[in-house]
């Protein structure tokens, strides 16, 4: 199994750390993983995105121009990545801030009101709400591997936040909506 994912949004939305947790979770279930961020000064206030690959085999190219899943958290990213989802793939997005909704019919489209839901828990759990939504639609890692992934990727001093994050994941799982299914 190989899953190729792009997560894209504004800097500060926790895009990179969501990818990191996902990747660590892949390691926890003995997969090969790669995590490739966009980097540089354009991250400052601008967009941020990360390509995450989980695979049972050796990963060759860590850089991709099509994805099994695109998780899209602002309009710019929607404009850029909608077309890059493989036919039959998944596009998950937060409709908050999206003015032009996706139009493709050959992919599964799901939404999660992550800003809204996260605000009810803790603004900083935004990305975990999105994570939950993704895992619900596409359960590529098991919850206990996510737990272990969280533990590995958060520094010791933030381990007390794990329950909060898991609550957010559950919320995401609960609130995700499938708009279109292939």
């Amino acid at each position: 199994m190989t899953e190729e994912i792009i997560i894209a949004g504004f800097g500060g939305q926790g895009v990179l750390s969501m990818g990191k947790i996902l990747a660590y979770s892949g390691i926890m279930q003995d997969q090969e993983v790669s995590w490739m961020p966009s980097y540089g000064p354009e991250m400052r206030g601008g967009t941020a995105n990360v390509t995450v690959i989980l695979s049972d085999d050796r990963i060759n190219s860590p850089i991709l121009n099509e994805f099994d899943t695109a998780i899209v958290l602002n309009q710019q990213s929607m404009d850029k990545f909608e077309s890059m989802v493989k036919p039959g793939g998944l596009l998950l997005y937060d409709p908050n801030g999206i003015s032009h909704h996706p139009k493709r019919k050959d992919i599964t489209i799901a939404t999660i009101e992550a800003v809204k839901e996260a605000t009810l828990i803790n603004r900083k759990t935004f990305n975990m709400v999105v994570m939950g939504a993704f895992l619900k639609v596409h359960p590529i890692v098991k919850m206990d591997n996510i737990h272990r992934g969280l533990k590995k990727s958060l520094p010791e001093r933030h381990h007390h936040l794990i329950p909060l994050n898991e609550e957010a994941i559950k919320k995401g799982m609960a609130k995700v909506q499938i708009i279109h299914k292939v």
Partner: protein, 79 residues
């Protein structure tokens, strides 16, 4: 007493919601909006516009040159 009156125009798309003008305004004219602009920032706006004295302090500290300040002198206001 006839006061000098002022008004500001803020370029809300250029504004990055840094809050510096808000804090700097001596008459508490400005506030950050709840709405976000296209870049995802909450821009400043003159919430208490009538209090503006055209002192230009907000414009002086705005790093993004978003603020234009207008001044109407009392005599002008009466002619």
């Amino acid at each position: 007493m006839a006061k000098v009156r002022g008004a500001v125009v803020i370029d809300t798309e250029a504004c990055k919601g840094c809050d510096l003008c808000v804090v700097a305004c001596p008459t508490d004219v400005l506030k950050l909006s709840e709405q976000v602009n296209a870049k995802g920032y909450n821009p400043a706006y003159p919430a208490n516009h009538d209090a503006c004295t055209a002192c230009t302090i907000c414009a002086l500290v705005c790093p993004d040159m978003c603020i234009t300040v207008y001044q109407l002198k009392p005599e002008k206001a009466h002619d």
